[in-house]
Symmetry: C2
Subunit: 318 residues, 2 copies
Amino acid sequence: MPTYAADLEAVRAAAARLAGAVRRTPVMTSRTVDELAGRSVYLKCENLQTTGSFKYRGATNAVRKLDDATAARGVVTHSSGNHAQALALAAKVRRIPAYVVMPKNAPAVKRAAVEGYGGRVTLCEPTLEARETAAAELVARTGGVLIPPFDHPDIIAGQGTAALELLDEVPDLDAVVAPVGGGGLLSGCCIAARGLNPAVRVFGAEPAGADDAARSKAAGERLPAGPPDTIADGLLTGLGELTWPVVRDRVERIVTVTDDQIRAAMRLVWERVKLVVEPSGAVSLAAVLSDEFRSLADIRTVGVVLSGGNVNLDKLYW
Amino acid sequence: MPTYAADLEAVRAAAARLAGAVRRTPVMTSRTVDELAGRSVYLKCENLQTTGSFKYRGATNAVRKLDDATAARGVVTHSSGNHAQALALAAKVRRIPAYVVMPKNAPAVKRAAVEGYGGRVTLCEPTLEARETAAAELVARTGGVLIPPFDHPDIIAGQGTAALELLDEVPDLDAVVAPVGGGGLLSGCCIAARGLNPAVRVFGAEPAGADDAARSKAAGERLPAGPPDTIADGLLTGLGELTWPVVRDRVERIVTVTDDQIRAAMRLVWERVKLVVEPSGAVSLAAVLSDEFRSLADIRTVGVVLSGGNVNLDKLYW
């Protein structure tokens, strides 16, 4: 068996490291969701995680693992999304600085969220090159450690703790479904779930308008993300070098869903489960409600990671 | 000590009756809420209860207590809100009919919700008199039992189980705050909380635009509800004959809040706690965030009942 960036032991070590620092989020059920899915669905509510997404798991794991001398110089990332908020708070809790590079056209509300958690924001031009250059400059200037959003063993292991908790609470799951952008959550959950029980089937859920993981699986090689076109703004990036091998070898299938399916699943969660999920956070449920997934045999029970709940409430999504 | 419609033993008996039939809802915390409240706040999430509100507790308790012969004839109520949905489902679970009288101007979505749970809806003119007449006719015709929304010992005891769970999970609460409309939830929670620990201080939270409980407390006698003017459409009714004595004797104070305060608390819960609460469901938190409540001494920890989450998602509330 090939070696991946993280294994079950790494996820277990992360879980021990996160105890008391990260929420054990509830697992919820809904008879309406079960009826629509045609099977028993267990919703792992990472939208209820601190900072509003699962990202706080990986960020806290990475920050806690740093030795004191390294940590004191701070952490650096470039992100305008949930990872930036998560890293900012994880750093604040350890009383170290977090330097966050954000594109100058990022919404004011996202910048405010990062700053609200104590992150120090550097603005740059809205290109990947400018972001990477600015982050490298910050690393050079501060001596801080770059903590990327997904393609890092400690991030992958940290995100996997969500599946560890899910299977601890519902041990007889036949399948687990997680959304896939860069693949940190999906690969971590896959390692954890199949490490605990090799018979568990693991699926990725991806927006049709950002379907590089599905295309990569079909091609058998990691393909870059195309220009994205989806409401699920947390799932736009392509797979990483470390996450791809897990997705390639250990994930059964990537199910893609349209924005209309995402919106319908999101509304279902708001309306019937009474939880605020963001579009990216509802993609996994949208996949489970799709004809493609409903037609799969031998799945009686499925765990679904609702990955985040950070939305702009001034907006109507339907 | 005077005798009330229910006591701690009745609430405990209700809890035993509801085990496995009603959700033990999670208790959630938020550091943002704690900062704004100036103390530790424990949110009892009855918006996550089956049918989207605490009403399912009382309705299920009342329905389960019926003997088989009586139950077989069905249950009757007049309500257009959360009690109607709760009673419809409680009856469906027992496989007995639920007859629900609704005003003909009730929103289509509410009628659909009741019918979705199997309730048989009878429409009437939108006056209290017409509703009561229609309900009485249904009782006469079907032999069914009238299950009122709040002023009934089994309803009061059932709603009190929310506080029983809350104190079981957070035993060292200094105070409990519940919203008050008819007073079923507030009186039940008061009986349970102060029955378990007489030192617990219990507060009611009421919209300023439907403040009969506050006025009744001030006057020392039960005053009728005036014409209501509030966004909190679940709290429009006045106190009942059975709920009033508990509120009069055992509740420390009724804190009133404006619709702007309710909206702000509601948005805070959606945005930071990631839960969908309805306006009535956020009134208790609005009270805890008010200057009046914040200025109270010797309350380090407070339990807050978020009572429901049934909103129309086509609407923007801010």
